[in-house]
């Protein structure tokens, strides 16, 4: 059973996004996604300063099995990337919503977050996949 925390927003390509107090957002992949991928062995996150469009492919997660693209849930500019993923990609398996966050960005329009799926909506999506 996948963990889908309330209070986060989600997109159907299996990223989560959370608003932070300073007006930026933090992004990662969901518990469902990490479980489907299997043991992660390589993660590439976007560079700080990169401007991303919504749904732009901007990161890669590679498991023992395969490589998968990660997409920007909304448009914005990358402000920080999680360097811990370089040497310990496994934290994305063990703690996808906290230690395994991927990057932070300053959104072009913070209201874009509100239009995304809530936890119940994402749960329904993954139930339909199973």
């Amino acid at each position: 059973m996948s963990n889908v925390p309330a209070g986060l927003k989600y997109v159907k390509s299996h990223e989560w996004i959370k608003k932070l107090a300073d007006g930026t957002v933090v992004i990662g992949i969901t518990d469902h996604a990490q479980n489907a991928l299997g043991d992660l062995v390589f993660v590439e996150v976007p560079k700080v300063g990169r401007k991303l469009a919504a749904n732009e492919s901007c990161a890669v997660v590679e498991s023992v099995k395969a490589a998968s693209d990660v997409y920007a849930p909304i448009a914005g500019e990358v402000t920080e990337a999680n360097g811990a993923l370089n040497n310990t990609p496994e934290i994305l398996n063990s703690d996808p919503y906290e230690a395994g966050w991927m990057w932070k960005m300053k959104p072009n329009n913070i209201a874009d977050v509100d239009a995304l799926l809530d936890a119940a909506g994402y749960q329904q999506l993954i139930d339909e996949l199973n």
Binding site: G38, D39, V41, F42, E44, V60, E62, V64, K65, A66, A67, E90
Partner: protein, 360 residues
């Protein structure tokens, strides 16, 4: 409808993720492919390989027949129980399958062949066997389990009947012993010590349960793939197939060229390619970041090119490794195209890992 091995219920009980592998529903992993990989390098792991097939050959001319059928020479098998790895070739030297041949006695040899090739292998072997009066018996009454790792032999020997246990304790590398329908070979596909056991399906399930209770880790095909890749072992259907010959597949060492008058199937075609193969098979370690997968482009400073056949993350090495088929002139520094970027790699001599130690 996918076929199921006798251990299918065990896989479900252990929470395996099941996939279609050559028409069989098989475990790709249980909880963690990485943990399973490390268990084999450090302790003991077991694999359901009951989708592979044992084929028994009987008749006084069996050895003579296999010297015709196989590219490696079973004349090397002088002691009963000895095993030999070989390719089985078409007349044009394309690889029909790779297999292990066990010499049991002059009237009985056993072959172990791949799952996806069993049907065509049986047809080919039977067709060739007729002229030698050799009978071909598909032992689908037997299942195969591989128990591998530094602790594997001790764990298995504890579970064997006493006479077979003593024989298994004494058996050398690439050699087998048997008692009744229980067959124990000191072979494997991981680069670690261990056994491959063939036994009746009901016994196989009981043995699996006892080994599991004794701490032998159930391992899926995912770990089997990373272990064999680190061990520098080819996978049929991926690293070679009927469109490829052994000299461009890293399998030249398995060809029994001597004696020169042994007329094995494929010899004429292969002899014409000897020393002249336009392509060769290499092993490489990625130096930059990323993961090499199968079917990625490879290029060399001297203009040579090629393509990876197998690749992945090597858990023991914590880096990415691959096999590649490349132009024969290729040498030195190379690069692999990973998702649009050329990443540096270096050629090494396989195996990458043997008996828990990184060798490259």
């Amino acid at each position: 409808m996918l076929k199921k091995t006798a251990l299918h219920a065990e896989h479900v009980r252990l929470g395996a993720r099941l996939v279609d592998f050559a028409g069989w529903e098989m475990p790709i992993q249980y909880q963690s492919q990485l943990d399973e990989h490390h268990a084999v390098r450090a302790g003991a792991g077991m694999f359901d390989v009951a989708h592979m097939s044992a084929v028994d050959l009987h008749g006084p001319r069996t050895r003579e027949f296999l010297r015709k059928l196989l590219a490696n020479d079973v004349a090397k098998l002088t002691a009963p129980g000895k095993a030999l790895y070989s390719c089985m070739l078409r007349e044009d030297a394309g690889i029909i399958d790779d297999l292990i041949a066990y010499f049991i006695n002059e009237d009985w040899f056993r072959l172990v062949v791949n799952a996806g090739t069993t049907e065509k292998d049986l047809a080919w072997i039977s067709q060739q066997a007729a002229a030698f009066g050799v009978s071909v018996k598909y032992r689908d009454d037997l299942g195969i389990v591989a128990v591998q790792g530094p602790e594997a032999r001790d764990k298995v020997i504890k579970q064997l009947p006493s006479e077979l246990a003593a024989a298994a304790q004494a058996v050398g590398v690439f050699q087998a012993v048997y008692a009744g329908d229980w067959f124990v070979g000191r072979t494997g596909y991981t680069g670690e010590d261990g056994f491959e056991l063939m036994l009746p399906h009901a016994d196989l399930v009981k043995l699996w349960q006892k080994l599991e209770a004794d701490g032998v880790r159930a391992c899926g095909l995912g770990a089997r793939d990373t272990l064999r890749l680190e061990a520098g072992m080819n996978l049929y259907g991926q690293d070679m197939d009927e469109s490829k010959h052994p000299l461009e597949s890293g399998l030249g060492w398995t060809i029994g060229w001597d004696p020169a008058d042994r007329d094995f199937i494929g010899r004429t075609a292969l002899s014409a390619l000897r020393g002249k193969s336009p392509q060769k098979f290499v092993s490489l370690v990625l130096e930059g970041r990323g993961v090499v997968r199968a079917h990625m482009k490879v290029r060399f400073a001297n203009g040579a090119e090629g393509e990876t056949t197998s690749g992945g993350f090597a858990p023991t090495m914590k880096s990415s490794i691959a096999f590649a088929r490349v132009d024969a002139k290729a040498e030195g520094a190379c690069e692999v195209e990973i998702r649009g970027q050329w990443v540096a790699a270096k050629l090494v001599k396989a195996p990458f890992v043997r008996n828990g130690k990184v060798l490259v």
